[in-house]
């Protein structure tokens, strides 16, 4: 009996002790992501949290650096034929998937082909492609039907969908089916057994990963992992996340709401910083199928009363965390300009807007702004737009719901009396609006276009001209033409550029300045 009691007591003490010593000595980075990781497939969804997961576990053939140059990543060397029709790629030595299998040319081809079925730029590349061919396990070729100057830029695309390389067996999955195998060849391994959706995602260092020698710059360069384990701890409540960071229970909070910045800034052990050089762009999107916004003058009227400064403050809380951006391309990137932006700049002209409304023949049709009150960025924009529309005499109302309802309803093509809509708001990260190839809200392909379904043949022609631009100067000129037309046609109204800063404990060092939170190179002292 005594022995049994002793054994029970020992077991109780053992269970009361914290986790093993080996585990305690590991360097664990505790990171609070901006959203909960639910979908593992970075090709099946454009969700940014899944893209970020992709950067943890996968690698890319090429990557873009901070100067917008395309740099090789998994590729060691490449050649472009004189006729610009054949690209030959050779992989680096020692590339291995997490299951120990070598990365082969066939894996790269299957991955790129799957990506090209979902991504807009990938589809454009696929249109120009005659075929991909594996020369041997390390070398493969891309044969084009016609020169496509953006081929390498496409393979280095930094934001959703990113052309991540997966094993061929995974990449052969239908592009519209969500994969659940996160085997990659990237710097971290996903630990599926510890994944608790809605709470925790665990990655461990991929000890087989061979980083490049170059310094990291955005997603290019050496991906040197300096911690043993990364835990993404999803904390849905902002106040709790702030308290957890203050108390040192977590090391890094990816994105915080503006109202908590002063609270965290007061803590000397915490750094609050903007590490996203491009920020995000807010926008108003119209339904082009029905009155009143099927008339360009109605859209122009709204543009004349949108004050970006108001929207930036509404979204970011503090003017320091945002700025007006009178461009259809992300401010701070090579194609950004203010060409044609007069209707969006300067003093807001309500009288002009009213005249445009009259010229458009507005008959008092009801305007429905669909809103998502669980998304502060969407909600604040919706309220400001409602106010603006009312000021110019439009019969507008907000119909509020959650984000899930909004993105379902915006797919409804019916008139508003049958569940349709007139306006919704959203935002895109900077890299998703840097040029006409990735800037999908500009597209004017009717039924195949983004929600709102504008038909704008001129925009499609101008976009095509941009794709065919032979050099940087021609590219800039073509992009200017796209923008000039956009300010007349008004596919969206940009509402400003804003930043949601990040906050981390001071013992965290080596944070990479990039439009995506990248966790390699990060040290925990």
């Amino acid at each position: 009996m005594n022995h049994r009691l002793c054994a029970l007591a020992l077991a109780a003490i053992a269970s009361a002790l914290p986790i093993t010593e080996a585990a305690a000595q590991q360097k664990v980075l505790k990171f609070v992501p901006q959203a909960d990781l639910r979908i593992l497939d970075p090709i099946a969804t454009t969700a940014y949290i899944t893209r970020n997961h992709g950067y943890m576990v996968y690698d890319t053939l090429f990557a873009m650096d901070a100067q917008f140059n395309v740099k090789p990543q998994m590729v060691d060397k490449w050649e472009i034929s004189k006729d610009q029709l054949t690209y030959t790629f050779t992989l680096r030595d020692g590339l291995k998937f997490h299951d120990g299998q070598p990365v082969r040319a066939a894996d790269c081809i299957a991955s790129i082909e799957r990506w090209a079925k979902r991504d807009a730029l990938g589809q454009k590349l696929a249109e120009a492609t005659q075929g991909w061919k594996a020369v041997n396990d390390k070398t493969f070729t891309l044969r084009l039907k016609k020169p496509f100057p953006l081929a390498l830029e496409a393979l280095a695309k930094p934001s959703s969908n990113v052309p991540f390389i997966m094993p061929e067996r995974v990449a052969k999955t239908d592009a519209f089916k969500n994969i659940d195998d996160a085997t990659g060849s990237g710097p971290f391994k996903f630990v599926k057994s510890e994944w608790v959706p809605g709470n925790k995602v665990v990655y461990v260092k991929n000890t087989d990963y061979i980083p490049r020698k170059e310094a990291p710059s955005w997603a290019s360069g050496g991906k040197v992992v300096k911690v043993d384990r990364v835990e993404w701890i999803y904390i849905p409540d902002s106040a709790t996340a702030a308290a957890a960071l203050n108390a040192g229970e977590v090391d890094w909070w990816e994105q915080m709401p503006p109202d908590l910045i002063p609270l965290l800034s007061r803590n000397k052990d915490i750094t609050v910083k903007n590490i996203d050089p491009l920020g995000s762009m807010g926008m108003i999107r119209f339904n082009f199928l029905y009155p009143p916004f099927n008339h360009p003058k109605m859209r122009q009227a709204v543009m004349h009363v949108v004050n970006q400064q108001d929207y930036v403050i509404g979204i970011a809380g503090d003017p320091k965390n945002g700025k007006p951006c009178y461009s259809y391309f992300t401010c701070g990137t090579p194609l950004a300009s203010e060409i044609g932006a007069e209707p969006l700049k300067g003093k807001r002209d309500f009288e002009r807007a009213k005249r445009l409304v009259k010229e458009a023949g507005y008959k008092g049709e009801k305007i429905v702004i669909i809103d998502a009150t669980d998304q502060p960025i969407v909600h604040s924009q919706s309220l400001l737009t409602l106010e603006n529309l009312k000021k110019i005499g439009l019969n507008a109302e907000i119909q509020a719901g959650d984000w899930g309802t909004l993105i379902t309803r915006r797919a409804v093509r019916e008139p508003i009396d049958k569940g349709g809509w007139s306006i919704f708001h959203t935002w895109l990260v900077g890299p998703d609006m840097v040029n006409p190839a990735v800037n999908f809200p500009l597209r004017g392909t009717g039924d195949a276009a983004w929600f709102g379904w504008p038909t704008d043949r001129k925009m499609e022609e101008l976009r095509e001209a941009w794709f065919n631009a032979p050099d940087a100067a021609a590219s800039k000129k073509a992009a200017d033409a796209v923008q000039r037309h956009a300010f007349e046609f008004v596919p969206i109204i940009p509402t400003g550029q804003f930043i949601l800063p990040t906050a981390f404990r001071n013992n965290i060092q080596g944070v990479i300045i990039a439009p995506i939170n990248l966790l390699w190179n990060v040290e925990k002292k």
């Binding site: 639910r38 969804t45 454009t46 089916k177 709470n199 409540d237 899930g404 993105i407 929600f451």
Partner: protein, 313 residues
């Protein structure tokens, strides 16, 4: 009694079948499309249509319901649309935190509330009674999230005694497990302490006015023996009923507490799934809730026989 239990268990199956049908119908009629959420912000209508086809969401109601029911009869609750993980696995991941939180909250609530109620009844009309009732009103009035933040501010940030958030499984150590449950259980338990204390007081006051209590007092029994041995047992039926209802409410109703303290429980799983229209999880969780409620009610009904031998089934 055996026949009664069998009858009640049979009724459970009928209840769950009705719940299954109603839930499926409600979800079918609710606006929202998981395919649109899965595709992401940049997707086109065509992308969404193709994803919907792959998920079988474009099939008629009866085909979908029939398929789900067939799988359910085989013990398969389906696969989450988003995570691709089995619903049973996701529920299993969440059961331990929710049960831990529920049991700790109940334990704290009962251990604090029943003595408070008994003392308030025994000292009815005194300042003790008024203090207990005052606390009870405060417990009802204070929103859980406000109390949660006050507790975090005081015990986690200010004193650095307890963790702000998270849950540690019991296998990581009893101490860590308990430390992570103290604040959430206290925040969640306050309203139950208030409720149970009031019910206990009212029930005890009723019993204390009975003749047999006066007889026990006249026999010269010690006051605590009269209170606990005679009065409390006879006052227990309504108290147990409230505790039983409380268990049911706690299993599904701890959403705010789980959110504030970032505890990966069933409540948060439910809310997250509703926001994303992850139908298989919603259906699975609602079935679990309904089974829990019915079985807890059965257990409460059976417990009446222990507290009041006059009750027979």
């Amino acid at each position: 009694m055996f026949a009664y239990v069998v009858r009640r268990l049979f009724a459970t199956i009928v209840v769950m079948a009705v719940v299954a049908l109603v839930v499926f119908l409600l979800l079918y009629l609710t606006p929202g499309d998981p395919a649109a959420i899965l595709a992401g912000d940049a997707a086109t209508s065509d992308d969404i249509r193709r994803i919907r086809e792959k998920l079988g969401l474009d099939e008629p109601f009866l085909v979908r319901f029939g398929g789900w029911l067939w799988r359910l009869l085989h013990g398969d609750l389906g696969i989450s649309i988003f995570t691709n993980l089995p619903v049973t696995h996701l529920i299993a991941q969440r059961i331990e935190p929710t049960l831990s939180l529920t049991l700790c909250t109940l334990l704290i609530s009962v251990l604090v509330a029943v003595p408070l109620g008994v003392v308030a009844a025994a000292r009815a009309g005194t300042w003790i009674d008024r203090a207990v009732m005052g606390f009870s009103v405060l417990g009802f009035s204070l929103p859980v999230f406000v109390l949660a933040y006050i507790l975090i501010l005081t015990f986690s940030i200010g004193l650095d005694w307890l963790p702000v958030q998270g849950y540690r499984p019991i296998r990581d150590g009893v101490w860590e497990w308990a430390r992570h449950l103290v604040l959430p259980s206290t925040a969640l338990g306050t309203v139950y302490i208030a409720l149970i204390a009031r019910i206990t007081r009212a029930s005890m006051l009723d019993v204390l006015s009975q003749d047999y209590v006066r007889t026990a007092q006249a026999k010269g029994l010690a006051p605590h023996a009269v209170l606990t041995g005679h009065a409390l047992k006879n006052a227990a039926v309504p108290i147990v009923t409230v505790i039983g209802i409380g268990i049911g409410l706690l299993i599904g109703g701890a959403i705010v507490t789980e959110t504030v303290f970032a505890i990966p429980g069933i409540g948060r799983l439910t809310v997250d799934s509703i926001l994303r229209r992850d139908y298989p999880i919603i259906q699975g969780v609602v079935l679990l809730f309904s089974a829990s409620y019915v079985l807890i009610n059965l257990a409460v009904d059976l417990s009446y026989m222990f507290f009041d031998p006059r009750i027979r089934y």
